[in-house]
Symmetry: C2
Subunit: 158 residues, 2 copies
DNA sequence: AGCCTAAATGCATAAATATACAACATGTCT
DNA sequence: AGACATGTTGTATATTTATGCATTTAGGCT
């Protein structure tokens, strides 16, 4: 299960570091790295990651991540390891993240920047963030989206 | 011939204003607007415009223009009609744009923002811009790219 | 633990997209 | 104008990608 999350993270990395124009090529690289999957699954993964296929001056077509997900992180060498994350829980359609004192606001800002489709809005106090989960999305999905976008959280969630 | 340029311009407009997920749909709209073409041509047009197909939260997939081409223009209600453009010529792999006095720099800046693949670099003086044409690209291609990106120039070039 | 629901995946295939090739048009240069 | 090069397009088709359906797997809950 966490197999999938790993795969998504590796997939993102492969896409940012290489210029690849078809799923079969991605598939082969993933297989080399020890993942067992089919093109069908890959297609679904790409959809989930919102990876788009774009014409490229030299390579014909290439896959690329939505501009938000990566660009900033890659450029500025920022690590999120110390976001102050403490825990995440849920009640109804409100997820609650607890952070170290004073970290809630900056953490929420980062989350906002990813425009996660599972979230309607965030509200941050001093050490607490409320996240409204979009109708139709689950707490599970939200957690997964958080991990995929902020890999550093992987060790801490669930 | 200018038929094609018109088509590309309309195509861009259609894409910015609608959320369309497959070429057949685009094709139908173009046909409604009086253009006669096939899916093959459309596919080539999309490639030329660097239109990418992106997963979308609600619509499955949508076509969208590279972020530069449009966003700014649509948002800020800027018209380029008065860029000060006067003429464009070429010698070897250097294209030379003449502008009204003082306009060269701002014009060059706008061009830079489109990251045209036909251009290696630009250099602007007071009323003159030098554009280095990328090896493998032609002056013709460059002019077309300029028109497609800055429709206002259509009347003035060639 | 055992039941239940939701997620994940493969297989097969439909759907969508890109392109080789040939034909035709357009432009350029002398 | 004629010749040559370049650009544009359609047709047919190969390639690539998405998805319905069935099955397996993983969680969540009592």
């Amino acid at each position: 299960m966490s197999e999938k999350i790993n795969r998504l993270l590796v997939l993102k990395q492969i896409i940012t570091l290489n210029r690849i124009g078809k799923q079969d090529d991605l598939l082969n690289i993933l297989k080399q790295r020890g993942f067992a999957l089919t093109q069908a699954t890959l297609s679904r993964d790409l959809k989930e990651l919102k990876v788009s296929k774009t014409p490229d001056a030299e390579h014909g077509y290439i896959y690329s991540l939505p501009s938000h997900s990566m660009r900033k992180r890659m450029a500025s060498n920022v690590s999120y390891s110390n976001l102050g994350f403490q825990s995440i829980d849920v009640s109804g359609n409100i997820a609650v993240i607890k952070t170290k004192s004073g970290y809630a606001n900056s953490f929420a800002t980062i989350i906002d920047e990813f425009f996660l489709s599972e979230i309607i809005g965030t509200l941050a106090g001093n050490d607490t963030i409320f996240l409204t989960i979009k109708e139709g999305s689950s707490f599970q999905e939200l957690k997964k989206a958080l991990i995929v976008n902020i890999p550093e959280l992987k060790e801490f969630i669930k």
